[in-house]
Every structure is written in C-alpha cells, then in structure tokens.
Symmetry: D3
Subunit: 281 residues, 6 copies
C-alpha cells in the first residue's frame, strides 16, 4: 500500500504535486491566530485583553501590530514560495515585508468600515437588544471582518492567505464571501448560513442581506482549451441601500439599482431598477 500511494504521488496531480513536495504552506494555525490578533486591534475590549484604559490601549495595540507584522510577513513569504512567484535572490522576502507593512497601514480604513457595519447591524435587527451582542456574537460581523481583511491582502497580490482567511470564516459561519468582492461600508448579513458572494461582485453602501442569498455567476466563458477564463466580471453589482431577503439568488453581471428590494427565494438574472421591489409572485 505504501508503494502504491507513493508511486501514485508522482502521478495524480503531476507537476503541482511535485512542486508542493518542496514547499511549506502558510500555517492554518498561524493564520487563525493572526485573525484573532487583528480582531483585538479592530475591536479593543471585545476581543483580546479586557479592562483596557486609554493609557494601556496604546501599548496593547502597538504590541499586537508588531506581532501581526511579523507573523503576516512570514506567512506571506510562504505563500509566495508555494505558488512559485519569481524570487530573484532575496526579493520574495523583501516583497513580503513591503506587503505586510502596506496591509497594516490599511487597518484604520478597515476599522472605519467595520464601525459602520456594526451600526447597520444594530439598526437592522429588532432581536438585538444590546449592541455588544452584535460584535461579540454575530456571524455576519465575523464574516465581514474577515473578508475586509482578506480583501486588502487580495488587492496587494498575496496568494493563498486571502482565501484561507475567508474560508476560516466560512467554516465557522457558513458565509462564503470571496476575497475579491468589493463591499461598501454599513454592510449587514443577518443569520447568514448559505450566503455566497462571488469574486467580482461589487456591493455599495448600506446593503443588507439575509441567509442563503447567492450573488453568483450565471456561466463563464471557456478559452480555446476548454478551461475557464480567469478574472472576467461575472457577478452582480448591488448599489447602495439594497435589501435582499433570504434565499434569493442573483446571477450574472446584472445591476440591482439603488434602494431596490429583492424578496425571499426570488430568482434574478436581469437588472433591477433603482427603488423597485422584486417579490415572489
């Protein structure tokens, strides 16, 4: 059996498998710890050390950022090496440092967007009696936090890590948002299990969606060899202040106009006019 499995090893996935034999993948555990540290920086007092004061907050945020920077750089470097990014001399290492620093500089912007997300949750859920519950317990907040962080890494061209971060959130929330999706502030997902938002989706400000909503692709073009062409815009554009109720499906590069409402279980493959309502007949 050992022989069979080892000789198989050379065969089944060809060059990809062989190259992977020589490289170390980013560590799932390190990435999970990174996200925990980032949440402590973005929501101090809710995650990480408790009983902070204005005076001690600076120390904890500074120490966490330094830790984040080092862990992130190491994991980014692993990512570059696994996918075989050209690395003339030390440049893969240099690039990982540059990217990690650029990411950290984006954190205040991420924090601002998340602040609006939390307010949207409080405004959008009558079951929410105290706002702490949203930050501390809501899967929608957890998922959008991870996606906003992963999106910054995705914009910086980091391989593997963005997807690891969103899949980590997907695993614990059932919400699957691709790191490539561009999402405006004040975004709220209620319940969330089964939500899928695709790579090229564009979402405006103040959008609210419910469990089971898909913002997906209708089909995708193949190249001459029958392989899918990567990177084509194929997911919906959702403008500001749209609400999409549970289990609705929106497919293809359609536009849901500003302030429109999509009812539950509705199937949408065409543009929807601003302010209109689409419901199950």
């Amino acid at each position: 059996v050992v022989g069979a499995l080892c000789s198989e090893g050379a065969g089944w996935a060809g060059a990809h498998a062989r190259s992977s034999l020589r490289r170390e993948f980013p560590s799932r555990q390190a990435v999970a710890g990174l996200v925990d540290d980032l949440r402590a920086v973005l929501f101090p007092g809710f995650f990480g050390p408790s009983e902070l004061t204005a005076e001690t907050l600076r120390f904890h945020v500074g120490a966490a950022l330094d830790r984040i920077l080092h862990v992130l750089q190491e994991q980014i470097l692993r990512g570059f090496r696994v996918v075989g990014e050209a690395e003339a001399g030390e440049s893969a290492k240099d690039r990982s440092w540059r990217v990690a620093r650029a990411f950290v500089e984006r954190l205040p912007e991420v924090k601002k967007a998340l602040g609006a997300d939390v307010e949207a949750a409080y405004a959008g859920d009558p079951a929410l009696v105290n706002p702490e519950e949203a930050i501390y317990c809501y899967p929608g907040i957890l998922a959008i936090t991870s996606q906003r962080l992963a999106h910054e890494l995705w914009l910086l061209g980091v391989p593997l890590l963005p997807r690891m971060i969103t899949e980590h959130a997907h695993s614990s929330t059932g919400i699957d948002i691709h790191p490539g999706a561009r999402i405006g502030e004040g975004f709220f997902i209620d319940h969330g299990t089964g939500v899928v938002i695709g790579e090229t989706a564009v979402i405006g400000r103040g959008v609210r969606i419910y469990q089971g909503v898909t913002l997906g692709a209708k089909s995708f073009p193949l190249d001459a060899d029958g392989n899918p062409i990567k990177g084509v815009d194929r997911h919906p554009i959702v403008e500001d202040d749209v609400v999409i109720y549970a289990n609705a499906t929106v497919l293809g590069r359609v536009t849901i106009g500003r302030g429109a409402t999509i009812g539950g279980n509705v199937w949408v493959t065409r543009d929807v006019a601003p302010g209109s309502m689409v419901a199950k007949s």
Copy 2:
C-alpha cells in the same frame, strides 16, 4: 497606525465602545466547556466519562452540576456587568447566583424534552440504523440541546450568554435558532444546514423540519426614530405534528395548523389550515 487605530477607538461606536473598555466579556471557552458539561449531565454515557454505573452516575452528575453552577454564575455575572445592568452594591453578584440556581433546577425538564426529541429523530429518519448515532452525531440534536439550554437562560433574563450558546451551535451545525423561540417536545431537524428560526417563533409538539427551512419575520415596524421596535411578535406559530420540507420559507406571524405539511421550497406568508398540505405547484 497605532495612533490612528487608538483615536479611532474613541470615535467609531461611541459610548458602547468606551464602556466595553472597562468590562470583561463572558468567556467563549468557558461557555463551550459549560455546554460540554451540560451535555454530559443530560446524556450520561454518551458525553463525559464513559463506563458509568448507577452507583457512580450520581457522583458524576453531582460533581458536574456543582462545576456548572460555579462557572455559570461567573459568566452570568460578567454578562450583567458588560451590559451595564443596575447593580446596587453586591446585587449583581446575588442575582447571578439566584439565576444560576434557577437554571440548574430546570435541567430535569430540559432532559425530558430532549428525550422526546431523540425518539422523534429515530422515528423520523430511515437512514438511522442505531439510535446512538442520533445522540452522538446528529447536528439537529446538538442544535436543539443548545437552544433548550439557552432558552432557559433567556427566560431568566440573562444577557449575552443565551446568544453565545446558540451561536456556538450555529457555528458547528449551520442551524440558527434564536434563544427566544418556544419549542415543544419531540422536535426533529434533519440535516439542518441553513435552518433559521426567529426570536418570537412558537413551535408545538412533534414538529419535524428539514435543512434550509426559515421561520422568519416578514418585516418589522420602526419607531418614530426609524429604529426597529424590539420584542414584537413577528415570527410564525407552528402547531403540533407539522412537517416542513427542505428550503421552505414561512414568514410573519402566521399559523401553520396542527398536522399540516409544507412542501420543499414552498413560500408561505399566510395561515395554513390544520391537516392541509402546501406544495410547489
């Protein structure tokens, strides 16, 4: 960046964020351990120590209850403090003790309801060859166990913990039942991913539902300031012996009459008569 993040800290969520800087949240890890201990008490021999005898069972249940009581009191107290419940002198502490004891006294009732739930699973799933599999492996049993426990805490006015318990179950099962929902004995959820049951839902005895079913709100009234009014009855009433098949959606304060059957993918926003069947046309 440290400066930006720290000054942001004061701004983004106003008073809520500031108050959270001084308080310690209930611990996720403690709550997870609590649920494990409770499952060992409710299903002895399945969870917790194995190879029990009638003689030693008493010791293990007694020791676990004492542990539960202390951990629960501590976490309830943290909950009261985070949400700023009035606590004149030591009264927050006294109240946490009183509530923890009241919860423990409810456990025999919870156990009785869960016994009926397990029997309903065995009666309702042809794939289930041995009943141990249901208790030990079924996400539906795990989710209803957590909800019944969370519901008791919710009735006792405990903040944060009930939601933490149901979200813990949500995360591992994809089943999202609000702690406020009132659910009768003999309840069975098969597969379960994507199930959402809202805060004011009322479910009778012997009800069976499948994956992706939503018992949700249709819309919710806003107050003069545009904020949702909390606590209004807005979710369905499901009477005894109803079956709701996969991905059906029932919205609003409608009543599904005793013994009715709701077919898969069906969309219901009106009352359904007892004994009737609603199916996709």
Copy 3:
C-alpha cells in the same frame, strides 16, 4: 436535581440509554486526528510534514499508515461494542483488525478518485488561480475527501465511525453527504454550504454541483408499526457529467440523465432526459 436527573436517566430513552452506560464511544478527537493523518497520506506535501523528498516520502507515508491502522482498529472496536455487535470471545477484536486492514488497502483507489476531483475543481472554477488553493482551502475538496473515506468504512459495515467522519466535515463545511452515497470520480462541489446528499444517492463521473443543492428523499415507506423501513433506495441517480446549480432540489429515486443541466432553485421530482436542461421558468 441530581436525583431527578439520575432517575430520569433510567427512564427517558429506555434500553438504549442503559446500554450506553456500559460502553465507550469512539473518540471524536481520535477520529479527527485520523482524518488529518489520512489527508497527509492522500495529499502529501499539502497536509502533514512539509519539505518531503521522494526518499523521505516513503517513511512518512509508512509511519502514518501504521498509526492510522492502530487508531482505526481501536475506534472500530469501540463502534462494534457500542452498537452491541455479536462478539463471541475475541471476534469483535479480530473483526476490527480485519476491517481496518481492508480499509487501508482501499486507500490507493480513494487517492485516484480524489486526484480526479481536484482536477475537476481546477477545470470548474474560474476564481481558482492556482491549483494548490483547491486542495488546501476548498471546502468541497475537504467534504468529498471525508465522504470517500467514510464510504469505504460504510461498505465494510463499520458502525458510527462513517457518520462521525462525514459529520465532522459537515460541521466545518456545511456540506452533508451521507457515507452511503456512491459517488464517481471527478466530483466537484463549489461553495457547498447547505448541500445535502442522501444515503442511497448514486452519482456518476464528472458531476458538478453548487451550494444548497439537495439530493433527497421524497417520502419513505413505514412498516406495520409506523417505523420507517430502513435501506430502501429513495434518493436520486445522477449520471455522468451532470451540472446542478445552486439551491436546486432533486427528490426521490429519479434519474438525471447523462450530461443534463439543472438550473438554480429548480425543483425536480421526475426523471430528466440525458443532455436536457431544466431551468426556472
């Protein structure tokens, strides 16, 4: 309360509860470790030790298989004992060894099928830029890996473990495939949350399905006592090269013919002709 809970213990689930008091269940932690070891054997370099060479690969695979064999035998034995399989003398132990060895001998076949699954993922998802991402991050690959392993144990008549393995995957991916389902090579599930595939489903080669798809039973016959009859074929047959889009539901022992396409949110309870397309009207 202790008294109430302990006397309840004797009553609520009758003989099943009592028998469980004397037996040790398979360990969830051991089973999770087993799956990790199996993934390291099936995808060397992706999981388990990194930086392998052809020379050292043999050692790692051999050592992991030996570990797998011992842990598996122990857990299988526990399974046999919990469900009270006849065990004249040492025969339960002998049987667990025989079964564990037979399982290990099936691994090269499982690996071959998984290789085709990975290639199907790469061919079927335009968002996938590097193939490592599929093996390392995709919940669909994780779920089918666990199901293929659980299916081999299910074929060998092992109780409890197959379901524990698929529920472990269900919990982290939201994909619920029964261990009994027979699934051909080159199977790809994208996103996956909410997918349910029933016990007697039969799936051909090269099938692709999306999140929220149910391959379920329409209803099930009861015996004279009102209990469901176990083991009846009641789930769909899906032939080679079928694609089923998000949230579609296929119920009953229907056949989806070779190369057919089922659109999103579609509801199917009848046979679908080969090559045809069923879409929402």
Copy 4:
C-alpha cells in the same frame, strides 16, 4: 542511518527490546493526571475544584474516585502486559481490576498519614506562617504524598507504576524515595533536594529530615553470576522521632535509635543509640 538504527534495534538489548516492540507502556500523562486527581481527593479545596461545600464534596470525591479507578485499572493492565506477567485468558484484566479496587480502599489510611505529615511540617518549620503554604507549596509534602500512594501500589505487586509515580515527584522536587520504603506518620522533609531513601528503608513516626540526606545501601551481595541479588534488606531503620540534618549520609542496615539526632554532613555506617546525638567533630 535508518538501516543501521533498525538493525541495531534487534541487537542491543536482546529479548527485552523485542518484547517491548509489541506492548504499550503505561502513559506518563495518564499517571500524572491520576496523581492530580488523587491529590484533589486527599486534599479537597487545595487541589481540584475550589469552593466546595460539605454537600458538594461528596459528589466531587465520588466522581474523582470513579475516574481514578478506571484510569488506574487501565494503566495497571498495561504494566502487567509490559513486564509479561502470566495472563491466562482474561486474568490480567481481572487482576488489574482487583488491584485497582484494593488501592482505592487504602486511600482513607493514606489520607490519615498525610494529615499527620502536614501537622509535622507546621510544627517543624519556623518559616511557615500559614499552614496552607505547606500543603500547597512544599515539595516535601508533594514527595511524601506521591510515595505513600506509590507504596500502596508496590505492596499490591503492581509493576512500573509505583516507580513512575515516585520519579514524577523526584523530577519536580529532587526528592527520590523508593516506592518500597516503609514510612510512618508525621514525616517531614524540609527543602528536600538531593534526598535519597532506598527500597528497604524503614522509617518510624515523627521523623524529620533535611535536604541532601541519603538513607542508602553500603554495598550489595552478588549472586554466582555476578548479578546483584534482589530484595535483600540493605537500607537503614530509622526509629520514631529521629531528626537527620542536611547532607547527612546513613548507609547499610543500621538502626538509628528512637529520638536520636544526626547532625549535618555526618557519615553514619553503624547503629546509633536511642536519644543520642551524632555530630561533626
């Protein structure tokens, strides 16, 4: 290198090494957990769960004893198997159960002796301001607790475990007392690092010794083959109320008479009369 190490494996320790390849040793971690549980039973409130009441104490002690009984039986059984004790049919298992039960029945006696040991510590150390410190922090108390437990197992003929328990204490205290030594109540070791007490030593009541004291063998007889003859009485007898100061060495089957005092660094190889004092000249 692999070849060299594996072929060496067959050679270096002959039959012993080969037999060990087929057997599972008692687990160090299980034994450490066992000692923790036993300390919680013997010193409730100091180790194990805190905030006990008379009411809940019974539950915790009962549950801990049941856990101890099962873990101990399993580890004893491993011990019997490693050293190849004759095990006709199931008798090794039966014997391990009988021995584990006999051990648990000895615990009240052990507790009584330890109570006197703690009182001796309080009476014998002027640096001890509060008695809790002795139970909670003193290495001497830890070492004698482990030895008294190991001694009971040693009397019952259990292999390996007694030595594992005393070596566990030796490792954290530097006090090395053989499980075979017979030690009276009210025994106090201050500081303790470097203390060695041999297998056949006999110590009366109310004895106090300090760091670096050796109660050892002078020499040991060899059999015809030049191997040491096992089990000969070759260590000192120390009668009641003796005090032995730091780094004193007492060798051979000599008797230190009741109430005698041995000064620091003294070297003793002859009997010492009751009530006398031996000091460095």
Copy 5:
C-alpha cells in the same frame, strides 16, 4: 470509601481544612504565566517576542506590564482571601491593587540587580563562551530572577505568591532560596542543584556560590507551647565578594566576612574573618 474520605475531611486538619473549602487558591498556571511575562519584560529579546526594535519594545513592555498588573492583582487578592486577611468591605481588593502597582514600580530596580547578576555569571564561569547562554540557559539566573521578584512581593506582605514563585524555580532548578532572603547585586550560583538559602539570610554584593551549598539555621527556639517562634534571625550573613564552593554548609546567624572563601564540603557554624579562607583539612 467516599464516606470515609469525606468524613476524614472534617477531621484531619481541623479549621484550616474547613476554611480552605470556601476559598480559591492562587492559580499555579497563572503564576507561571506571570513569571514568563516578567522575564520577557526584564530580558527583552531573550524571552517573549523576538525581533524587537527600540520602537516596538515600548509597546511590548507596556502591554506586558498591563497584563502583569491585572493577573497579579487577581492572584494577590486570592492569596489575601485564602489566608483570611481582614477584609473590611472592598479593602482586600483595594489592597491587592495598591500592592500590585507598588510591585510593578520596583521592576526597574530588580532589572538593574539582574544585569549585575548576568555580568557576574560571565565573569565567573570559564565554560561560558557566549553571554546569551547564561541568560537563556543557566538555572542560576532563572532562580535568582524568581527570588528577586518573589522578594519584592514578600516585602509587600503578599501571602502564598512569593513562595509559589520560588518553589516554581526550585522545582525546575533544584535551587531553593526563600523569598525572605536579602541578596545583593552581582550574585552568581553555578550548577546550583541542592542550594538552600534560608528566610533570614543576608547576602552582600558580588557573592558566588556553587551547587549543594546550604545557608541554613542551626536550630530554632520554641515558644512555651513547643511551637517554633517565627521570624527570628537564624541564617548566616554573607558579606560582599565571598565565594562558597560546592556542598559547603553554613549554619546559624554567623557572619562570613568580606572577601572570604569557603572551600567545598566545609562545615561552618562560627564567624569567618574577612579575607580568610576556610578549607577542608
């Protein structure tokens, strides 16, 4: 057995045992973590986060000190409660805060003394090729670090914690220094196993001692009831620049004069003149 152990519980150590049933002891694990954090603050770059810069050092030290302050306060409070210190109203809590703050303010002084200790190690051990080895590996440095920290708590009147800290070091180094001992800068212990330094010992600057050295009490006065009188000066005074070689024993309130040398295995119970050498004849 349960009955016997529980009724024993009331008897054996009287009031002390009973009071301990109601109180929570300081946590060994918390204290070990505290010492780790303190070592990271005192020896940045050697313990705790690596790759510090002058810029990030401030953040890490600040964050660690805040963590230390909170953990320490909680553990000190537990200590006060266990030993039943008078606590009118909230004063035990207030006192624990005041003491924890006072301790933190002493850390720069402790660091200064430890700096001199490290230099003494480098100057005093020819086997030490690089100075990092001393800080990172030497048990003598570990033991004196713990004692200097424990001594500050002891001066502040904290119960239990000081001894827990020195016993933690004793357990891993075999070096037993009482928290009460007053020790000057530049102190070096080589090898160290078996070293015992008593509560009222006073040690000057630049002292060097080797393994097995005892600075102990000769005897101690009893009060009218036969109990030892606490707090009497009964251990040696060792002046600046003294060297004491391996296994030497110095007993009683004697003075070893400045610059004296005590040879190995020597037994000293009288004053030794400055600059003299005492060696084995």
Copy 6:
C-alpha cells in the same frame, strides 16, 4: 515604569542585549520535541509509537529522522545567528544543514553507547526488577541520553543547543553534565540528584556514580584582564570501571585510576591509583 525599563534595556548588558533584540533564539519547545523524537528513535517501543513490528519500525524511524533533520537544522541556524557566527551569504544556512546531517549520521554510535548504559544500570542496581523500568523511568538514563546527544552537537560546534539539551535534562533530573564532557560506554548514574560533571571531564568505560557526586574544577586561571581563560583542561579524568559513591567530590585535572573506588562524601583533589579505594576515615 515602561520608560525606565526600556531605557534600562539599552544600558544594562550593553552590546549583548542590543544584538539580542534583532535575533530569534532557538525554541525551547522545539528542542524538547526534538529530544522526544530522538528518544523514540533510540529506544523504539519505549518512547514514541507503541506496538511496532520489524516491518513498521523502518517507517517510523525514517519519518522521525526526517522530522529531526528539519527541526534540528532550523534550530541550529537560529543558534548560529544569535551568537553572530560569520554568515557570508547563505553559508550559515548551508552550514546548519551540513551539521544537522552529520549529527544524524552519528546516531547509530550514540545508540550503541546507550545500549551499554542500560545494561550497566541493570547490572548495578539491585532494586531494578525489570529492565524496562530503567529505560522508561530512570533519571540517570534520561540524563546520559541527553548528554550523549548534546555532546555530538558540541563536537560539531553548534552554539546554544547543546547546553539547552543538557539543561532540559538537568531541570527534570537534577543531573548536570556539561555537553563537553567525554563519557565512555556503560555509564550508570543512580538516583543522580546533585551530580555535576564539568566541561573537560573525561570518563572511561563502565563507570558508576551516585547522587551528589561532583567532578569539578579546583580553580581556574584568569587572563591579564581578570577574565577566566576558556577551554583549559580543569576537570578530572576517571578511568574505566571506577565507582564513585554518593556526595563524593573530585576536583581538578586529577586522574582516578582504573577500577578505583571513591567512597561516599570523600573529598579528592589528587590522583588516585588504579584499583585503590579511598574512603572516609
């Protein structure tokens, strides 16, 4: 306080402290895991996976050696970097690989010596009834295993790691053997607490020593600046078949001749003739 501690940071240990701010030390945890893996390779069946067969042994040993090689190389590299070994380009990395491989090739020799050590333990201790106990429980075997491994690294010029390995053993056994000591086969240390063996000691075959024995330096020459001169031979030479009883002290570059016996507590600073016996008068 933060300011004081950070500015102190620049001052107290000068250049050494500053350089340490930029470097990562070898990980204690990694080194402890390395020693565990090495013990599983050297004593298969006693440590590491149990129930090995001749067939599976090769796999486990091979896999463990590969793991050892990678961990060791990484930790050696850290060691080189901390002490600032010249590292022109990638040469520190290359050197760490070369050294790690050379170490692994020495393991069969180490195993051979350890085999003789175990036999010496069995021959030398009448309390040892079954030989498994020596390998599995004896601190003397643990200490000599660690020292023989550390010695190989020391011969290869690896910084820090050798000392970390022997101090790890020192901490759990109280036996302190410098990595530089050269020790022949068949070496047995009984009890062992307090044993100290210095850097330049040379020990022949079949030597047996007891607790508290010191093989130390008498004094050491200083250079013109008053610093000790490193690397001078200053510890004893102990020839074959010597026995040294408890607490004996041998100091300086003296020779204990073949077959000599040194009694307990004896003080030796001169050569001892072969075959002679030195005892306390």
